[in-house]
């Protein structure tokens, strides 16, 4: 869904999820949504619902794994964790993202 503040591109959301799991360890969907919002200083407003198809997609590709567990408030929740393939993917994507944003910055500064 388009968002008035900033649109979350599919690939971007994937990267954010992978990064979050990498730095925070296994998390459930709600936690991830909170964390991503927090980390982006609320600049990024995503419909939390869009997270779930993305999680499924990442799982189907084998980058993350899921397991039912119990939350800190004693609630059943599905926990996601980064797999080895996911870590590799994160490195690759982070690097290409870095290259891309550096390039865009350069272009923007030049003009």
């Amino acid at each position: 869904m388009p968002n008035s503040k900033s649109e979350v591109l599919q690939g971007t959301l994937d990267l954010l999820v992978l990064k979050t799991l990498d730095s925070m360890g296994p998390m459930h969907g709600f936690g991830m949504a909170m964390r991503i919002q927090q980390a982006s200083l609320d600049l990024l407003q995503l419909n939390q619902g869009t997270l779930y198809p993305a999680l499924l997609r990442l799982e189907q590709r084998g980058w993350i794994a899921s397991k039912w567990g119990v939350s800190e408030n004693n609630r059943r929740a599905k926990y996601y964790s980064l797999t080895r393939a996911g870590r590799k993917q994160l490195e690759e994507e982070a690097e290409s993202w870095g290259r891309m944003s550096a390039m865009i910055n350069r272009v923007l500064r030049a003009s």
Partner: protein
Amino acid sequence: MREFFRTLLQRMAALFRRRRLEDDLDEELRSHLEMAIELNLRKGMSAEDARREALRSFGGVEQTKENYRDQRGLPMIETTLQDLRFGLRMLRRRPGFSLLAILCLTLGIGANAAVFSWVEGILFRPYPLVSHQEQLLALTGTARGESGPTGISWPDLLDLERSSTLIDSFIVNKIMGTTLSVGDRAERMTGSIVSANYFDAIGVHPILGRGFEPGEDVGRNAHPVTVISYQLWKGKYKGDPQIIGKTERLNGVIHTIVGVEPEGFYGTFVGWAMQFWVPASMEEIFEAGGYKLEDRGARWIEAYVRLKPGATQAQAQAEISAAAKRLEAEYPETNRGRGTQLWPLWQTPFNNAGTLLPTLEIMIAVVVFVLLIACANVGNLLLVRSFARRHEMTVRLAIGAGRGRLLKQLFTEGVILSAIGAGAGLLVAHWCRHALVLLFPARGGVAMHLPGEIDWRVLALSAGVSVIATLLLGLVPAMQTGKIDLAGALKSDSAGVVGGAGKAWVRSGLVVVQVSLSFLLLVGAGLLLQSLQRIRNTSPGFSTRGVMVTAVDLVSAGYDVQRAQNFQDELLDRVKALPGVESAAFARMTPLSYGSFSSTPIAVDGYQPTPEEQPTAQYNEVGPDYFRTMSIPLVSGREFTRADDEKAALVAVVNETMAAHYWRDRNPIGERLQVKGRWMQVVGVAKDSKYQSVREAPMPFFYVSRRQNFSRGGDLHIRTPLSPETMATALGREVHALDPDLALYEVITLQEQVDRSTSPQQVALTLVGVLGGLALLLAAIGLYGVMSYAVSQSARELGLRMALGAGASNLLRLVMKRGLALTAGGVALGAAVALGLTRLLGNLLYNVSPRDPLAFGSAFLVMTIAALAACLLPAWRATRTDPVQALRE
């Protein structure tokens, strides 16, 4: 790439665990919302606000679920499954419609699959178990001045084989027969004279013993060995495992059984199942005309060749034609004007492939027509239903279904229908695959063998046909749906007019096409019926009533020439003494029977052939009283008598065509004729008659005295007013009195013999007749459907007309007029097409113009009656319209 497959796999797996995954998803999302609500409560919101805020920041729950599902499974497959379920439900809800549609498709697709299976089993893959049939070609000789193919002589064949580089093997295969006792009955068995390479070249290997060894086809009567079929082994020899090395008397000569062929191998002759095989060295025992392996002029061989991989028919033809030219130069005496010709298997001229080809070609066209008619019917039914479902479609469009999705739904319903139709059709074809043989009477006790073959190619073709059917069926309603205009349709328009054109044109068009196609088939059936009648009414030149024919196989019983002669003389005397017998005579062959007459080069005193011409004629060896018994009139001279025996001067009787050709205006009586180096005196001229086929053109033919050219085989012809059954009993007694070991063949009238010889026409007529009737029925159903629908849709108009004073007869006329207008359109179209197409019946027509007015007239009559019947019920229903009710609705 790996991820792609991984994803695909998981998605597919998800299709089968939907329920559990759905529960998982529900729980995960619920726990998410609850955590969010909890957090909001802790922030100090009211319960109400906490919930609303949680839902807001989540976005649409149902939407999320939908997206999730799309990601999880394979949406395309899921919607297809949905469509399938929905389609099946729709079909179940309208059983009448579904049954009718499926029945139409079953008949259409079934008829196609059955004919395909015949074409496959008879023309393209005729020989079960024979390897690489696509490399096989039939080989015959040709003769300048003769229209048909001829046989090939053994020496010529060996020379061709030596000089060929493109042909892997030359395979001799000449059909013949013998009589064997199975239990206490004498049974006619078909066998083949083959070259020693036969079984190796066709790649069929015996299950017991061996095939023939190289060299076994050389040497006069040098290798009395035989290989038998599985059926013969199981039947006559009761599956004896020790059969190899045992002996059997075949045509009077003891043969050693050296091999048994596998089950399902019937030899390589379309139409007949072979029971045994002997090497070519034994030719003399089974073939008329004596020892022929060293005679370049004796052309008796029918053969196949196997091409080397990569060689084409044209290349091989060029090669053997060149070889034939060399033989012509080397042996002008025997080979002048002689060539060779290769044929694709399905055009093989010497077996029933050639006989059935024209019939099967027409059958293909006919079943395609029937399929089109069936599709048109189903299309019409679907259309009617699509009108009934207009509202459903409109509502679905209005609540956001894409047009593509609707089309897919309709298309799926078409697929379901044709899949069921195709399945049922293949069952029909499976039952019919041996049906063709039912149309051929057994001849001489030997049943024909004409198998259909349902293999992957037939399946593929049938599948193709159903795909086309599906496209046709799916498209009709789709065209209609494409035109739905939301606003208009929701406002429930309706009420057609009986005579109105407009959107009914598709349906009317379909009916016109149906009527025209069935008219075409009716014309075809009419033409075939007439030619069959003409053939039946053609006089064969001999009397068919009151003459019957039978035989006793002395050759198989081991009689030598002297004993056979004595036996036949005695039998003839006894038969003539029977009450009711007017006359009787032996002849080597009965005209119009399966076997062919001997053909021989001739010379005539005072006749100078052109350099290109090699005078030949066919002949028969007949006994005294033959002409009287057969009622073949003699134009001049006399027929043979008992005095024309071995000691007397050689004599011959020629037919009128021969007399006119070789003696022109002279009287041939007393002139000389040379046959096989022997001079004979012509003593009589007989009227022309039919020899091989009722449809043949007059040809030179002569008769020689049986006594002076004796061979042990021969048919007994008897003139008597008694019935064949009575004669059979009396004859059987006489034969038994002479030799208790001998059995009599069936006794049939010559009329029966003529009828059997016209079986290709009968088969064509029966098949076209059955399918034409089917087509007529389908077209009538189509017409009925269209008219019923038109009446039910125009109830308001009919009611109005009634209210304004139209009587029942007016309404009747109104509806009938419309129905008959459609019929007239169809008939006009059909007649135009028929005028162009009936020529293609070509060879099957006999003395009937392809534009025969009688055939067209009767087709018109039948079509009109069918149309009247189809329109009457809807018209009658129209007159029962209740004006008050109709106007109120």
